[in-house]
Subunit: 190 residues, 2 copies
Amino acid sequence: MKVSLEKTISKYIDFTAEEFKSIRDCFKIKTLKRREILHDINTVCKYVYFIEEGIIRYFQVEDGEEVTGQFFFTGGWYTDLESFLSNSYSRQTAQAIESTSLLYISKQDLEKLYKEIPQFERFGRLMAEQAFIGLRKKTDNLTLLDAKERYLMLLRQRPKVIEKIPQHYIASYLGIKPQSLSRIRKNLVL
Amino acid sequence: MKVSLEKTISKYIDFTAEEFKSIRDCFKIKTLKRREILHDINTVCKYVYFIEEGIIRYFQVEDGEEVTGQFFFTGGWYTDLESFLSNSYSRQTAQAIESTSLLYISKQDLEKLYKEIPQFERFGRLMAEQAFIGLRKKTDNLTLLDAKERYLMLLRQRPKVIEKIPQHYIASYLGIKPQSLSRIRKNLVL
DNA sequence: CGTTCAGTTGACTAAGGTCAATTCCCGTGG
DNA sequence: CCACGGGAATTGACCTTAGTCAACTGAACG
């Protein structure tokens, strides 16, 4: 089921029907098939994407090997913030894990909303704060837990990742190799 | 040398002299001696701190062992964002590495500024965005590089950390043991 | 169907950890 | 100002966790 942009934003700020209209008018629609690329490494990420339905992952490549950084599900937001803010070339690739429908907004339009709708700046702040807190959770797990504990934490806190995502992507997200994840899972079952 | 709050904020937003007065009036002064605790684990972090001069680190404890998460220098900002925003008990401790003078603002006063000075909300957004990007750099290094590469990256990108911070804190920040860092440094010199 | 790629398993390797002894340095008290 | 005590850093020997390489199985898709 598609998630509504209006409902999602209204959880954070209040706005009138006209205000929402001018918000909604800034977003365009895009759909991706399974495995299609949303934006590629070495290009500037020019948009912020809202996931109406589907799953996006991003990954970086190190020594010829994909390292998955994060998974974003229905109702979530994706951008490469550094590339988006500074117009620098992105060092990550974003890809649909299953067929995905997105709404996306350009930097110009986002800045227009920041100016025109005072509380939208607040929305931007709240999103950035939540993104920071989410990333802190990932970093804390990486620095404080070993591989098995990280897997169990993911299982407990984000079971949807375990259900929906191919195991070799999960392995690289956890900072281990697919073989190691396979062994961890084997030892849990026995 | 102390860094000015006014100059620091004015890099991000414009404000009048009166507006800055009401900003400045929200901050109180605090000084810490070397090794003094700024805020402790299992307490709510009620303030955002601006470092006029000095160095703060925060650490978490796992299996009885301190794991340093980050170092903050003169001109930087510190808070436990998750604890601050949700009034939850902090899982980290912040401590002065050398004698440090701080300005700090409460949540009430910060929210007052967000309401009274429209562009201050923008300042909050920009700070949160920069915090996110900084944390991404740390996380990327942890997931993409091995211990030696992480040390070299730190040496290249933040030499001040290497100069000013005791080595066993740097080790845990890099996700390794002091003995391993000592060996990495030894191998570089030879 | 057959090809391809994900996942599993086994044998071995390597990066970094652990334990312990030693040296070094620096802050504190006499 | 100096001496000393204790934590920081170093080093060696050995261990553990996760990685590597390779073979095999299985499911999915064209």
